[in-house]
């Protein structure tokens, strides 16, 4: 009985894993086959003779590759960092203070996230232009932060609510000021949630390309997804190169996911479960 159950559990897990991996194998197959898309229907997506030509084309076919990689890293890292730093105190206040305007403000912020981005892209462009931040990484960070901050706020607010208030009270009694308590007790206690929030903010910035392509006008300022998108042109697309690029772009995020694996479960829950 036990054995049967465990067998069933593994069967479910294996089927799910296959479902999860197959499309990725398909991308991998595309990336390492020299001929591009298979013109014969095939079940097994990997080619018989793999080649790294596509990956080479991504890296060496583009003189700015390393700069653009750095751009991506800086912009995504900065987005996540800025969003978290801005959201931390605000989320704390929302979790711990009762203040006038907290509820309506929170609700309004939630609502803004439901507005399809289609309509606000152009006004955003104009604002950045006025701020003189067009075509700069800071501008892009600011734009990405507009979605990252509300997300981080909600996520962290939930995490803070999950921290027992006694912990803070103990610190106050021990002589720590509110700010100090926040820095030395609350933030460390919310570390998993902060890690997960960072991951998500990083990931969404890392994968974005439409706004980046619109706002950036220098080759050396582009982020990787923009470059990747350029491979898919009007008349023809180099799917193999695209796939290879996609895999390269995915590596950092997958690595972050792997690192954050432990926090992922606890951090996400802290945010979504009401304290």
């Amino acid at each position: 009985m036990k054995a049967l159950e465990s067998f069933a559990a593994h069967a479910v897990a294996i089927v799910a894993t296959m479902f999860a991996l197959y499309p990725l194998l398909w991308v991998l197959g595309l990336a390492i086959s020299p001929a591009g898309m298979a013109s014969e229907p095939a079940l097994w997506p990997l080619p018989d003779s793999p080649s790294l030509a596509n990956a080479k084309a991504v890296v060496s076919g583009n003189p700015h590759f390393w700069t653009q990689l750095a751009n991506s890293l800086i912009v995504s890292g900065a987005t996540a960092t800025v969003a978290i730093f801005l959201a931390l105190p605000a989320a704390y206040a929302l979790a711990r203070f009762r203040f006038f305007g907290a509820q309506p403000g929170l609700r309004a912020m939630l609502w803004t996230q439901m507005f399809p981005g289609v309509a606000s892209a152009v006004p955003l462009y104009v604002i950045l232009d006025k701020l003189g931040l067009l075509d700069s990484r800071s501008g892009l960070v600011l734009v990405y932060a507009t979605t990252a901050i509300p997300f981080a706020l909600l996520q962290l607010k939930g995490a803070f609510e999950g921290i027992p208030i006694e912990l803070e009270e103990a610190a106050w009694v021990d002589g720590a000021s509110r700010v100090r308590t926040f820095l030395t007790i609350v933030i460390p206690a919310a570390r998993p949630a902060i890690a997960v929030t960072f991951l998500f903010a990083f990931m969404s910035a890392w994968n974005e390309f439409i706004l980046a392509a619109t706002l950036l006008s220098r080759e050396s300022a582009f982020t990787l997804p923009v470059v990747l998108q350029r491979v898919v042109g009007e008349h023809a697309a180099h799917w193999g190169v695209f796939a290879a690029g996609a895999l390269i772009v995915s590596v950092p995020v997958v690595a972050l996911f792997y690192v954050a694996q432990r926090s992922l479960v606890s951090g996400l829950t802290a945010g979504s479960v009401k304290g």
Binding site: R230, A236, S250, Y258
Partner: protein, 727 residues
């Protein structure tokens, strides 16, 4: 004496944080540099390299500095439209002439300096005229031609009938992008119909149009042309000798191996003695952005690129068909037979009108084409449908509305608000509450200000756009006309294709199905993986979150490829299992299913992780008690686990609902709304109106506002439901 341990990081922590923050800001801000001449293009590969060579030579010769930017095609026109009016555009940009009408209307272009108007082919030059003003220097003419694989086909070719039947010497007779309206154009002209009549009315009408549809449908039905062939696949099939001939443009030349035995010729008639299949010719041109001022260096660069010297390089290295009459005699070009063939093809082609109305024909005709290829509509009905759609998109703008009542209402509203605020402020409790709130404001103000500025501002402006019609450069205030038009389905059937209500139903179905599957699969896997003694738990978990970690545009495109009718893995699997291959994007049900499969794949890891977290939070004793009480596995789930999990999952479910409702990527990239916009959801519809249908920004914004209102109402209802379930 001092114990061996490190003091906790308390001292100076604040300073370190601040420093870190500043460092990040510094790192992020890279100063922009003012360059002498900037030029934007969307070229790739050979064309891009040729342009590079030309520009580089120019730099060396003149000492001017040129900044070139290759913009992804998808973002190109949006970027131009956003940048140029604000003076941030390039000095020069390269674009096909078909958007010329729109650009001129929107004031994005300066006229060409008279000195540069010299030596261009008349036909190409004509394409760039608006009235008598020349906008843009023609760089290349692009039209379709027939590529014949001479290792397979020997004899002369006077019509497409002369190509070998399928299966004789190659799998297919002919390969081309048979679902694109651009590649359909030669057949339309061949049948004697047109996209746009000379008087700017819709030309794709009557029996001739139906005949064109019948012609191309027959090619597929007879197996002469593969279905659903897209850009990359077309040249690949041809390269691999799986098709005897290909219809493609000069850009395909670069893809062919040097030693291949290929002949390029203008498109012959469909049948011997019939009308020739005349393609559209588009002219790629060098445009001068408005708001940049005509600098001498700009003019010099334009000359270097567009005139003979640059044209030779572009023709030789970039395979471009350059419209310079003086060049035909150049020996280095004369020997490029394929280029000559394209030159001839371009001469016989029909210049594509560059008017705004022309752009509105693509989508309706494409829809009719696809509906016919799928066999959903008879050619006659498809033609009628196309005309209806064209009218829909080009319907006259709503009449301007007076702004007076609006200002009055706004004034009244703010007055009432002010009075209410004042009265509340006078109540003592309110003042006290405000005073108590002061410390909290110290913590939130910075975030509030940034959000207000960067989220609130654009959002309000965006929402306000929905009260306007027309384009960005010339909006007219129309009040609620956009909403009225949307909600009444523009006078058509309320549940007709493309109507708001039908799209809403699709969206609701889409959201419900997806969220249900996400939650079911996520919870099931969460439960399986939380079995305490499960082996390889971590391995499964790492592998199962991968779909979440890969950029969604990549996975969406991968899924689209897997659902390809002829070459996709899903149909390969079906065939392997003894089934029939399915044309996934031909019917609503299967296209919808394909979208759902993709989105479920993208979304289940999130719910799995949330479930894992929630299960960790469940009191273990309760579960044990239940199993001691003799509950079966199912009873335990139904009566103990599920009720405990539900409240923990609810916020994530709400979040997932909002995400799914607005899941633009998947719908846009996988089915692309196929068939015929039936699988479009509200956001993708909003996007189409705002960006592809002649940039009816206000109309798109009205869609966005409606989506917003629906979501706010929906989540409030869900929240209320959650509160009730909790109590």
């Amino acid at each position: 004496m001092t114990p061996p341990h490190c003091p906790i990081a308390t001292r100076g922590f604040g300073f370190r944080v601040l420093g870190f923050f500043l460092a990040i800001l510094l790192l992020v801000t890279a100063p922009a540099r003012a360059d002498e001449v900037t030029i934007w293009h969307a070229y790739r590969d050979a064309e891009a390299q040729a342009l590079d060579t030309v520009v580089h030579a120019f730099e060396l010769r003149t000492g001017h500095h040129v900044t070139m930017l290759a913009v992804p095609f998808d973002a190109y026109s949006a970027k131009l439209a956003a940048a140029i009016p604000n003076g941030n555009g390039p000095d020069l940009f390269i674009e096909a002439h078909e958007r010329l009408g729109t650009y001129v209307r929107d004031g994005l272009l300066d006229a060409v300096p008279a000195a540069l108007d010299e030596g261009f082919d008349a036909s190409a030059r004509r394409a760039l005229l608006q009235g008598t003003t020349l906008y843009g220097l023609p760089l290349a003419a692009k039209s379709l031609a027939l590529f014949v694989d001479r290792s397979v086909v020997k004899g002369p070719i006077d019509s497409l009938d002369d190509l070998p039947r399928p299966g004789t010497s190659s799998t297919y007779t002919l390969v081309y992008e048979n679902e694109s309206s651009y590649a359909f154009a030669p057949f339309v002209h061949g049948a004697g119909s047109d996209f746009l009549a000379a008087d700017e009315s819709f030309g794709f009408v009557g029996p001739a149009a139906a005949q064109a549809l019948r012609d191309v449908a027959l090619l597929v039905r007879e197996g002469r042309v593969p279905a659903e062939a897209s850009g990359a696949l077309v040249s690949q099939l041809f390269r691999e000798h799986k098709a005897a001939a290909m219809i493609s443009g000069p850009w395909a030349l670069g893809d062919l191996p040097h030693d291949s035995d290929v002949e390029v010729m203008p498109l012959p008639p469909l049948h011997r003695g019939g009308r020739p299949l005349r393609p559209f010719v588009t002219v790629e041109a060098l445009f001068f952005s408005a708001h940049r001022g005509a600098k001498a260096s700009t003019v010099a660069l334009a000359r270097a690129i567009a005139f003979d010297e640059g044209a030779v390089v572009r023709a030789r290295d970039g395979h471009q068909v350059v419209p310079r009459s003086s060049l035909s005699a150049r020996p280095e070009l004369a020997q490029l037979a394929s280029l000559q063939a394209f030159q001839r093809a371009a001469k016989e082609a029909i210049g594509m009108p560059s008017s705004v109305r022309m752009r509105a024909t693509w989508e309706p005709i494409g829809a009719a084409l696809k509906a016919t290829l799928r066999g959903d509509l008879t050619p006659e009905n498809a033609v009628a449908m196309a005309e209806r759609r064209f009218r829909d998109v080009t319907r006259p703008q709503a009449p301007p509305a007076s702004t007076a009542p609006w200002f009055l209402a706004l004034g009244l509203l703010s007055l009432t608000g002010a009075i209410l605020t004042y009265r509340r402020a006078r109540a003592e409790a309110w003042g006290l509450a405000l005073k108590r709130s002061l410390p909290a404001y110290l913590w939130v103000t910075h975030a509030a200000v940034i959000l207000l500025l960067l989220v609130g501002g654009p959002l309000i402006v965006g929402a306000a756009t929905s009260l306007f019609a027309g384009t960005r450069s010339a909006p007219t205030f129309v009040g609620f006309a956009n909403y009225v038009s949307i909600l009444t389905a523009r006078g058509g059937e309320l549940l007709g294709l493309g109507s708001f209500w039908r799209t809403l139903l699709v969206t609701l179905l889409w959201t419900a199905v997806n969220v249900a599957l996400h939650v079911t699969i996520g919870v099931a896997l969460g439960l399986v993986l939380s079995r305490p003694l499960m082996r390889l738990k971590t391995v499964y978990r790492v592998l199962l979150v991968l779909p979440w970690a890969v950029p969604s545009y990549v996975s969406a495109l991968a899924w689209k490829g897997m659902f390809h009718r002829q070459f996709g893995a899903i149909n390969a699997l079906l065939t392997y299992l003894g089934g029939e291959p399915v044309a996934w994007f031909a019917r609503f049900s299967t296209a919808f299913a394909a979208n759902v499969a993709t989105n479920v794949w993208l979304g289940f890891p999130f719910f799995m992780v949330v479930t894992l977290g929630a299960i960790t939070g469940l009191p273990q004793e309760v579960l044990e008690a239940a199993s001691i009480d003799g509950a079966t596995r199912w009873q335990r789930f139904r009566y103990v686990i599920a009720p405990l999990l539900l409240p923990a999952l609810l916020p994530s479910v709400i979040l997932g609902t909002v995400w799914t409702f607005n899941m633009f990527n998947v719908v846009f990239l996988v089915s692309g709304g196929e068939p015929d916009g039936a699988t479009d959801i509200l956001v993708s519809e909003a996007y189409r109106w705002a960006f592809t249908r002649d940039a009816q920004v206000g109309y798109g914004a009205a869609y966005a506002v409606l989506v917003f209102l629906l979501l706010v109402a929906g989540t409030r209802a869900l929240d209320a439901f959650g509160k009730k379930a909790e109590s």
